[in-house]
């Protein structure tokens, strides 16, 4: 408790006493009860703790308090209702969730990509999620989920009402 940290989390200004080398991951989970970011490897290899800091996707296990000073943090808990609902639904509909441990980080990775590119192709999606490990699904369905979620978000923005579901063919690649 030796460092006064002032930063913004999900739009809310926060002031906290934390350790000088306390990780952002621990600050979010233990002090702010924002448990969407998970700790898995703790070494920046698995991506389960991904959050958005000052507009960039980072591993919160590799960021310590002084780096967050005055910064803006977005976690999965801060997604807008619409974003959360559409991306969540995309992951559920495509079967991209099994145990769910990697999912919040994957959704943050997706959000980060979609904020720069509203219509990414499969290659761009794969490159974006290269730092997020999932030990359940084999990634095909996650790629599909992000493709599907991107479409739903586009449709939502353009006011198109698409109820057309996305189906998996036998090879696991998507068709709609």
């Amino acid at each position: 408790m030796e460092y006064e940290l002032n930063f913004t989390v999900n739009g809310k200004k926060i002031s906290l006493q934390v350790g000088k080398t306390e990780r952002l991951l621990d600050i979010l989970r233990n002090r702010l009860n924002l448990t969407g970011a998970k700790e898995s490897c703790g070494e920046g290899e698995c991506g389960a703790c991904s959050i958005i800091l000052n507009g960039k996707l980072v591993n919160s296990c590799l960021v310590i308090a002084p780096q967050v000073q005055g910064g803006v943090v977005e976690t999965i808990e801060g997604l807008s209702c619409k974003e959360a609902a559409l991306l969540q639904e995309a992951f559920v509909k495509t079967g991209a969730i099994q145990c769910g441990f990697c999912t919040p980080a994957l959704i943050m990775a997706a959000k980060d990509l979609l904020s720069r590119n509203s219509n990414p192709d499969k290659k761009e999606i794969r490159e974006q999620i290269a730092g997020n490990l999932c030990r359940c699904t084999g990634y095909e369905k996650i790629v599909l989920a992000i493709e599907y979620g991107a479409r739903e978000l586009r449709n939502d923005r353009e006011g198109v009402n698409s109820e057309k579901p996305i189906y998996l063919d036998r090879q696991g690649s998507g068709s709609s």
Binding site: Y3, Q67, G70, G131
Partner: protein, 292 residues
């Protein structure tokens, strides 16, 4: 007791640097992707952390005529996305793009990658091949040195306490370059072997300047001057390229010695060199790469 300071500009930083002898083990905190882990595992036990993220001037990338000037706090993502780097030092952008994953590229910095002095550092092979220089700032003032001159050994550098890598100066040249990295998959991997090859030809088609650097074969990233000398002043020909490749392989053998991975790495070096030459001379290398 650990003290943490986040200077807001270079003047504030200089005031801290002047007091560097008050600390036993001062560290700069750049992106933190390596240092945060070192602190947690107590491989690094700083009594001073100077966090550099608030100094905006350390993040700029500029074209100064003869050189590109890159602030040491430019991230890997900054290098990949910067139009100047992509146009004028494409091997650097290529190497940055192949490092780790988006999360780490968003956080890791060029200055950190250099100071960390890993033999497998992704940006060091291109920086060495490009003859990049460092602008250093210390209590004694400023100095300019070649990147290679601060590389001491695995994870060790010759920087003085709190000597800051302020800028990286990359001389502009018109050569063609290739960066080739071999890892066990595309993302996240630490290079098993990486190379940067840059060839400048003069108007008569002779090789004027060849630069070959190799990562992950020696305690530091190294240039292979013996192979460069064979290429310089000659007309590119398949036998010449083969000769240069064999010299690279032989020099690598000296570095690798008897370590267990040597047989694998020697084959791998031949492979990455063949690919690098192929990227620059596809017609000459046609058919040769398959036989490696």
């Amino acid at each position: 007791m650990l003290e943490v300071i986040s200077p807001g500009n270079i003047q504030e930083l200089q005031a801290i640097i002047r007091r560097s002898d008050e600390y036993r083990n001062p560290y700069y905190l750049a992106g933190g992707t390596d240092l945060v882990l070192q602190i947690r595992s107590r491989r690094a036990e700083p009594d001073l952390l100077v966090e550099l993220g608030k100094i905006e001037t350390l993040k700029t990338i500029a074209d100064c005529g003869e050189n590109l000037i890159i602030g040491s706090m430019a991230t890997f993502t900054d290098l990949v996305e910067n139009q100047l780097i992509c146009k004028k030092a494409p091997v650097l952008a290529e190497a940055a793009a192949q490092c780790a994953a988006p999360q780490v590229r968003n956080q890791g910095t060029i200055g950190g990658n250099i100071a960390n002095a890993s033999p497998a550092a992704d940006l060091l092979p291109p920086l060495l091949a490009l003859n990049a220089k460092l602008n250093l700032l210390s209590p004694q003032g400023r100095r300019e040195v070649p990147v290679a001159s601060i590389l001491k050994g695995v994870g060790e550098n010759y920087l003085k306490p709190l000597e800051l890598i302020e800028k990286i100066k990359v001389p502009l040249q018109n050569g063609r370059g290739a960066f080739v990295k071999l890892g066990i998959r595309n993302s996240m991997v630490i290079a098993r072997i990486s190379t940067t090859l840059i060839i400048n030809e003069n108007e008569t088609g002779l090789i004027e300047r060849a630069a070959i650097s190799l990562g992950a074969v020696a305690p530091t990233v190294v240039r292979i001057p013996e192979a460069e000398a064979v290429l310089n002043g000659k007309k590119p020909h398949v036998d010449l390229l083969k000769e240069a490749m064999e010299i690279v392989v032989n020099e690598t053998k000296k570095y690798l010695g008897q370590r267990a991975s040597a047989p694998y790495k020697i084959r791998a070096v031949r492979g990455v060199m063949a690919e690098a030459f192929f990227r620059i001379y596809p017609a000459l290398m046609e058919g040769l790469a398959d036989g490696i």
